[in-house]
Amino acid sequence: MLTFFKSAEAPAPQPATGFFTDTTLCIGCKACEVACKQWNQLPADGFDWAATSYDNTHCLSGSTWRHVAFVEQMPAANLNGGHSTSGAGSPGDLASNGSGDYTAGAPYQGVTHLTDASASGAAGQVARWLMMSDVCKHCEQAPCEEACPTGAILYNEFHNVYVQQDICNGCGYCVSACPFGVLSRTESDGRAHKCTLCYDRQRDGLTPACAKACPTASIQFGPVDELRQRARRRVGELQGRGEQRAYLYGDQAAGEYSALNAFFLLTERPEAYNLPAAPRRPRASLGANYLFGALTGLALLAFSAWSAGKGNSGNQEAA
């Protein structure tokens, strides 16, 4: 009888694995989205043409575990008969992409848009169409794992955050705990689903489906330590070539938040990609919240005791 409850032996821990998503190499083909859905047999989310650039799957969800964001940063059109006033700003929130002569061999910083430039010889302005394949961040200290009351969310032997479907009771605490909006409950079974980092493939020594399908190596998979080194080299390389905006998002802990095992190389501030600049980890303020709660409780108790005592004495006075 006892053997029935005895848990199986845990698999031996392996080096932590994760993703390094280099957005400077993403061509927005969405092969990662399709490869993910195909391998994991996830249903389509519906057919909702959104008129938002080429993004029609909108966000990560219980049935969309990879999502490619499209951010258009185009210089403002110029309607002065082909003669521009130089330095026109862009309608995007990051307008000052600069302008100037394109020189051969210069680093890639976006495309120089050679349209209706001024007759005085100034070259076009830099336009960018940023594309980023978003995914579960597999946080080193994941709020979803911390919030899960049933133990359904755990770290597997690859230190990936994994939701055990047979244990999840669909309470939804993880949904509100995740600062990236990764988790959501699906209508069909009410449970929370998210990227498993292709746990089944990893156990068979295979690369996760999205990284395998990526044609330009924008999504790279491997041991996190190695990925971080590679990513830092890459940032150095890009900055050395003049792309000063390149930085890593989530490669190390910052503020109250841990490092991410699926981290990103970005060339724009996080909000442009719909990522929080400073993600919150609910557990970090838990002690203070408990203390505040306890103190409030005590204060209320004291107040009610006081007011009860006062009432009693009043009654006595009346009586």
Partner: protein, 919 residues
């Protein structure tokens, strides 16, 4: 692809995609490579990461543009003007690669005295020999030939036929060393003619035509110049954005001239990549589904030329010099492969059993004939004319005129359902066509070969049996042949002898097995490796496989199904196309599959060495002359006679390959050189000139001739065309592709995973045009022109910009062409707007540049296209023999209303291969 064929010798991409990583600059024009060829696009990305420059010149700012360093928006269809501007910059600023141009192009060759350029007669825009009454250049009167050549060919194909003879196409030359002026000063040398021809293509004029800035022309030209020469190379990438014009061949010719002047051909990181629009489209021109060619680009016999006997045919089509001089060996070996023992010397190896052409039977003229009720029946395998043809409405009308139609496809596509789903509201009772629909196997369910964009023949094995009645195309064609041969057995009629004598021995010797060792369920599947063995060719007596086309004989002792493929199956048990061996330290990977011809990955690679045979530079070393060995050597198979010394010179009496000099790398041309000026082979002029698209809101700013003078129109009620500068249709439209869908959608719109990524038909337009018309992002709009009106959603984006043409603002809209009325997601058909007209060279339409107008709101008159109850493609199925806990997670997320699937052993849930495909 005569554009490349005429300029360099072979109608195929001159290099391989992996080599784009070595480019110092890649000019992408007429191609949306990042979206249409995302996997191949990794190589330009590698070039960019190495510091190379990517340039995109295109009407539509696509994902490709976003990845490039430079983007120039131009008006659709003005590519020749832009390229002409770049050519002029290269010439005027003396930036051409002098030694390369002098030796490897025909720049120094003198043209006959009677030649007249477009500039004459007050910029008339026509070359000499134009016949106004019949809208074509007449072979007998035009004088585009080299000096001293007779100028008239043995044959004279009427203008109504799209198919030229070889001697017409290759300018059969009597003298392989035509008179030339190495100082390039003679007014009739090609270089001076070229210089004069493009002298008016100034940056300002080009900018006025294209709608870009003059600065853009200079920047692009300067970037190309800086990245060309002995130490550096630039490549050009194009696709159907260039071919689908009435001037498509000439645009590609202009690119060829530019690459010739810059010395980028046959060199690593250089060349012209023709990105093919379809799996194995290259293969289907090599071993063609075309009416005017036999396998290996051999001209189809024609009644309009003197082709009564094999002897006449070979005499008429003769080419004296270069690789084509051995043409009789290719032709007779082909006849031996097709007719086997029945092909004897006495009966001309069965030459008269071949059908001969008497008219233009190219696809588009054929559709026109069909719409007139002149065609009875039609086989369609893997094509979707009801949604994918230019003027798809006309194509549907044409299909309705058929008595019978045989369709083979994966799904019930637009073409299979046109009789009851046409958005024009056609009454099914009035459609007389009887339609036979055959379900087809998908690629994993059959074996065979693909010839991809870089001429690479790659074999693929069969993974599993197709479900139910689905069968491979080769099964269908093989079985059709078997049945037809049985039906006509014993016939004495002369017209049946070709069919009866055709070798058809592709049956299997034993049972076919699947990878898991079990026997295949499918009966009657042919052994396609036997087909490839025959294509490769063999010695008739010993049945030993040939190792290359040099072994071919004209006496009937060899058989070969396609001479350029000879070597793909060099011994009975070695299928080179199936090989997947990597070669360490050599990015050319010569043992990975096989490329025609002779496994050469980069064509004309003799040009990677200088005239003396030494590499132009260490950085761009590829193939060179090894004096010690007395042979050409390098990282690829040399595309040159292996032991021909660089110093070899022919005499004016040399014949065949003897006529090709040791410093003439373009061995298919009779003079061995790049044809900057094409003395033959192009029907609308020896040099590209800017002509407006047939439908254009502006006049021609360079010539009096408005559009291509030899274009052919097909007037009908359903195919009305706008005249130039029609005030009703001031907006230029162009069609394009998205990554998420494939062609007109017959493969992708039945797949929910792709449909959710791009669920609806839309048109992209600029915020300025939207403001002018009162359209908001996401609104329904009507797009209409002379042909029809369609309803689409508006995607308003600053990626699309108004242009300034002729000093005024001009709007362009871009429409993807992936939607139709069949499938899980439906939408308006962009091709209902495009027109049917054909260019003079390859009978190509002009879907990439036409005119239209737009307004807010839906067009009410047309029937609302609503999909019929549709059973979605079941791309989620259980993995057999696997407990529920180990099924993929998404298995639990299937919508409850999804039909329950029975477990099918032959379906593979991991690959998403469907259990059923028919609705």
């Amino acid at each position: 692809m005569p554009g490349l064929g005429v300029t360099f010798g072979r109608g195929a991409a001159t290099s391989f995609q992996q080599d784009l990583a070595n480019s110092d600059c890649v000019l992408i024009m007429g191609s949306n490579m990042a979206e249409a060829h995302p996997v191949g696009f990794r190589f330009p990305m590698k070039a960019r990461e190495k510091g190379g420059t990517l340039i995109h010149v295109d009407p539509h700012f696509s994902r490709t543009s976003a990845m490039c360093n430079l983007y120039v928006p131009i008006r659709a269809g003005t590519d020749i003007a832009f390229l002409g501007g770049v050519i002029r910059y290269v010439i005027e600023n003396e930036r051409w690669f002098k030694e390369y141009v002098l030796h490897y192009t025909n720049a120094a060759t003198l043209v006959g005295a009677k030649f007249r350029d477009t500039e004459e007669d007050n910029f008339r825009g026509l070359f000499d020999g134009y016949k106004e009454s019949s809208h074509h250049y007449e072979a007998g009167t035009k004088a585009w030939h080299y000096q001293g050549e007779p100028g008239s060919n043995r044959t004279n194909t009427p203008a109504s036929i799209g198919a030229e003879s070889w001697s017409e196409r290759l300018a059969n030359m009597d003298n392989p060393t035509p008179p030339s002026d190495p100082t390039l000063q003679h007014p009739r040398c090609v270089f001076q003619i070229l210089k004069k021809h493009y002298s008016r293509y100034t940056p300002e004029k080009v900018a006025e035509i294209c709608g870009c800035s003059p600065d853009a022309v200079i920047q692009v030209a300067e970037t190309l110049c800086q990245n060309s020469g002995p130490e550096r190379t630039s490549a050009i990438v194009y696709a159907v954005g260039w071919t689908q014009h009435t001037i498509g061949v000439q645009i590609i010719r202009a690119a060829g001239i530019l690459q010739g002047l810059l010395g980028n051909m046959g060199r690593p990181g250089g060349g012209i990549m023709a990105m093919r629009g379809h799996a194995s489209i290259q293969g289907s021109t090599d071993i063609p589904t075309l009416y005017n060619l036999l396998p290996g680009y051999i001209p189809q016999p024609a009644t309009v030329r003197r082709h009564e006997t094999l002897k006449d045919y070979l005499e008429q089509e003769k080419v004296e010099n270069g690789v084509w001089a051995k043409f009789p060996t290719y032709m007779i070996s082909l006849l031996k492969a097709w007719y086997g023992e029945a092909a004897t010397k006495q009966n001309g190896f069965g030459f008269n059993w071949l059908p001969k052409i008497d008219d233009n039977y190219s696809q588009l003229p054929y559709v026109h004939k069909m719409a007139q009720g002149e065609v009875t029946g039609y086989f369609i395998l893997g094509q979707n004319p009801a949604g994918g043809n230019p003027n798809a409405r006309l194509a549907r009308k044409a299909l309705r005129e058929l008595d019978w139609l045989v369709m083979m496809d994966w799904f019930e596509t637009e073409t299979a359902s046109y009789w009851y789903k046409d958005p024009d509201g056609i009454d099914p009772k009035k459609v007389k066509t009887e339609i036979f629909f055959f379900p087809a196997a998908i690629v994993a369910e059959k074996e065979g070969s693909f010839t991809n964009t870089q001429r690479l023949v790659q074999w693929h094995d069969k993974a599993l049996d197709p479900p139910d009645d689905c069968r491979s195309d080769s099964w269908f064609v093989y079985q059709l042949g078997v049945r037809l041969k049985a039906l006509y057995a014993g016939s004495r009629a002369a017209r049946d002898q070709g069919l009866l004598n055709l070798t058809w021995d592709y049956g299997r010797d034993g049972a076919a097995t699947l990878p898991d060792g079990s026997n295949s369920r499918i009966e009657g599947e042919p052994d396609v490796s036997k087909v490839l063995r025959e294509i490769n060719g063999y010695h008739v007596d010993s049945r030993e496989q040939l190792t290359g086309y040099d072994e071919l004989k004209a006496d009937g002792s060899t058989a070969c199904g396609c001479w350029i493929y000879s070597g793909v199956f060099p011994s009975k048990d070695f299928n080179h196309a199936r090989s997947r061996e990597r070669t360490a330290g050599n990015y050319v990977d010569p043992k990975w599959a096989w490329a025609w011809p002779k496994n050469i990955r980069m064509l004309y690679n003799r040009a990677s060495a200088d005239p003396e045979g030494k590499p132009w530079s260490e950085r761009k070393k590829y193939v060179w002359w090894d004096e010690e060995k007395g042979a050409w050597t390098g990282s690829d198979t040399p595309d040159f006679p292996t032991s021909k010394k660089p110093s070899y010179r022919p005499t004016s009496h040399s014949h065949g390959m003897e006529a090709i000099a040791g410093d003439a790398p373009f061995i298919l041309k009779p003079d061995g050189r790049i044809w900057l000026f094409a003395p033959a082979g192009v029907k609308d002029g020896p040099l590209p000139a800017h002509y407006e698209p047939f439908e254009s809101p502006v006049g021609n700013l360079l010539y009096r001739q408005q559009s291509d003078p030899a274009v052919k129109e097909y007037p009908s009620k359903l195919n009305r065309l706008s005249r130039p500068a029609d005030p009703h249709f001031p907006i230029v439209a162009t069609t394009y592709r998205l990554t998420e869908h494939y062609l007109s959608g017959p493969m992708s719109r039945f797949n929910s995973w792709l449909n959710e990524l791009q669920p609806e038909m839309f048109a992209e337009l600029s915020p300025e045009l939207a403001a002018e018309k009162g359209i908001a992002n996401g609104d329904w709009i009507t797009v209409w022109n002379e042909r029809t009106a369609i309803d689409v959603r508006a995607l308003v984006t600053p990626r699309i910009r108004p242009l300034f043409v002729e000093g005024r603002q001009l709007h362009q809209i871009c429409v993807p062409f992936h939607w139709g009325y069949a499938g899980e997601r439906v939408g308006a058909i962009a091709n209902d707007l495009t027109s049917l007209l054909t260019d003079p060279n390859v009978s190509m339409h002009e879907a990439k540049a036409f005119v239209c107008n737009i307004r807010k709101g839906k067009h009410s008159k047309r029937r609302v296209i609503a999909p019929l109850p549709f059973q979605p493609w079941r791309n989620q199925s259980e993995i057999p023999d696997t407990p529920p806990a180990a099924q993929p997670e998404g298995h639990a997320l299937r919508p409850d209303d999804a039909p329950k699937l029975e477990s099918r052993p032959e379906s593979n849930a991991r690959t998403g291969a469907p259990a059923h495909r028919r609705p």
